[in-house]
């Protein structure tokens, strides 16, 4: 999948990091998002700050390995250790500029399912649940999800909406239903970057990663992906982006 200079995950991290603007308050998750946050902090967004739903605010991400956001190195050097509801309060006030959400499956309107495959009363697979995912999806100003590009993950419609994106895809669905932020800004996959129309709707291909094609995207996506107006190529990770993420991922 890689051209040898970087892995698909490294490209995803680089793309995700570019969603972070300088001065942003970012709701950071673990794994790829925390790497993206580190890359942004050390490159174009030195004044970004990271919130962790466990109840932490940080500037620099820990240089040590984290299994979870509650690990001691994430606490040492924190700028605020508090209750989760206080962190959520900031998000409910619209003060979280960007959130990251993980998901088992996402649909063409950006809705995420992390709860049930099959009927909730008799599920085929019981997934772990929302955690803070639905909170981020509903309350942060904009959010990004990162996902391996597989047809079983990028589905036409999720059977259960844990964390709402653009709902039924109609224009203005979020606003009509009282959701706070503007919803999903991007789905970053191993093949491409999807984005959404400003007031909601269906995901469109914004850029395709170097070495991949629209046909490949279509073959691995559970909905009929429309022909993009202009097919950009995703900018690969820069050397300075790679230095940061490789320094931390070890």
């Amino acid at each position: 999948m890689s051209n040898g200079a970087y892995t698909p995950q490294e490209l995803m991290v680089a793309v995700a990091s570019r969603e972070i603007r300088d001065g942003d308050l970012v709701f950071v998750g673990m794994r790829l998002p925390i790497l993206a946050y580190a890359v942004a902090r050390n490159n174009h967004a030195p004044n970004a700050r990271g919130l962790f739903e466990v109840g932490l605010l940080r500037d620099q991400p820990s240089a040590k390995f984290l299994g979870t956001m509650g690990d001691p190195p994430n606490v040492a050097g924190a700028l605020w250790a508090t209750r989760m509801s206080n962190v959520m309060a900031l998000m409910a006030q619209g003060l979280v500029d960007l959130g990251f959400i993980g998901g088992a499956e996402v649909d063409r309107f950006g809705n995420l399912n992390t709860s049930y495959v099959g009927p909730p009363a008799t599920p085929v697979v019981k997934l772990p649940g929302s955690g803070g995912g639905a909170d981020i999806a509903i309350l942060s100003r904009r959010w990004v999800t990162l996902m391996s590009h597989e047809p079983r993950r990028l589905v036409d419609r999720v059977s259960f909406v844990t964390s709402p994106g653009h709902g039924d895809g109609s224009v203005g669905w979020r606003k009509r239903n009282g959701l706070l932020g503007s919803g999903p800004a991007a789905i970053v996959t191993t093949l491409c970057v999807f984005r959404f129309p400003e007031r909601g709707g269906e995901a469109y291909v914004d850029s395709i990663h170097p070495g991949h094609t629209l046909d490949e995207v279509r073959a691995n996506t559970g909905w009929a992906v429309e022909q993009p107006q202009d097919v950009k190529e995703t900018a690969p990770p820069t050397a300075s982006e790679l230095v940061v993420m490789r320094g931390l991922a070890s």
Binding site: G67, G70, D71, R83, S115, K126, G129, W173, R174
Partner: protein, 292 residues
């Protein structure tokens, strides 16, 4: 008080138990294992996310209902016992009342303030509204029904015998869980003199009037981390994820790590505690409470 006595007296069958309220740290695994050893049944587990402990209690058949935002193994993925129970009714069917992290906090604040519900915008547009009977939409907001645990079980770094607990690091929903609960059971790394806890009343977590038991149980949160005391035992979580993949594997794990052991002291002899212990020192700068 011994942990066995505390669990026997204060966590009866059928209790609603808030546990693991600080999310990934300070999880009261020792207390949960004692519930398993005592064959507790029909518990309702209440928490935000649960890193493996809910999965173990579910696998051991102790649980009737889960009221939580996330149940699994944080660094390893899905909770296999949770899946078997929810998907196949093994070892028994469980009821799931889904929440988000924010909504479970609000459910506890509602109970702490003794009101039927609290409003929020979170959950608008989520199908979770259709699976949890304690959530409803009114006037464009979600009303989160109060959740009053019978007992909150909380692991802290230090406490005195009167129940004044000091905990540090991110606390998740611990404060609201203790205030909302009918009673609080504490386990602690260090049982300290009251002069230590009362030297810093701002760090005391709960009013002692809520606390019914203080158990000195060093290592009682293993494999979860305890700031200043223990690192997270990542490989233990990984091994648990692998072994719990089948019901048989889980039962063998449970026998080895819980059922065959009399208590935490024996458990702590079964792995390299020294490798996990925090050896460094990064002390908080003291503050002066003098009054004249």
């Amino acid at each position: 008080m011994s942990l066995a006595e505390a669990v026997d007296r204060f966590v009866p069958d059928g209790s609603a138990v808030a546990i693991g309220t600080a999310l990934e740290a300070l999880i009261p695994f020792a207390a949960g294992h004692e519930m398993i050893r005592q064959g507790r049944r029909d518990l309702e587990l209440v928490g935000p996310i649960s890193d493996a402990l809910f999965d173990q209690l579910i696998g051991a058949g102790c649980v009737r209902r889960v009221t939580a935002a996330w149940v699994g193994n944080v660094s390893e993925g899905l909770g296999q016992c949770y899946r078997r129970a929810a998907e196949d009714g093994v070892p028994r069917r469980i009821e799931v009342h889904d929440h988000t992290n924010f909504s479970i906090a609000l459910a506890l604040w509602a109970a702490a303030w003794n009101v039927p519900s609290l409003p929020t915008r979170t959950l608008l547009g989520s199908d979770i509204l259709s699976t949890n009977p304690h959530l409803r939409v009114a006037d464009g907001l979600v009303q989160v029904g109060a959740m009053r645990p019978d007992v909150a079980v909380v692991h802290v770094q230090r406490a005195d015998a009167m129940g004044r607990a000091h905990a540090w690091g991110p606390l998740g929903i611990t404060e609201e869980a203790g205030l909302a609960a009918d009673r609080v059971v504490l386990t602690c790394e260090e049982l300290v003199d009251a002069s230590v806890t009362l030297s810093d009343p701002n760090r005391i977590l709960f009013p002692e009037t809520k606390v019914v038991a203080v158990v000195h149980e060093p290592g009682g949160a293993h494999p979860s981390p305890v700031q200043g005391y223990f690192k997270r035992d990542h490989s233990f979580f990984r091994a648990y994820a692998a072994e719990s993949r089948t019901a048989e594997g889980f039962n063998a794990w449970l026998k080895r790590w819980v059922l065959d052991l009399p208590g935490r002291a024996a458990y702590m002899k079964r792995f390299d505690v020294g490798a996990l212990r925090v050896k460094g020192t990064a002390l908080s700068s003291p503050v002066n409470f003098a009054d004249e």
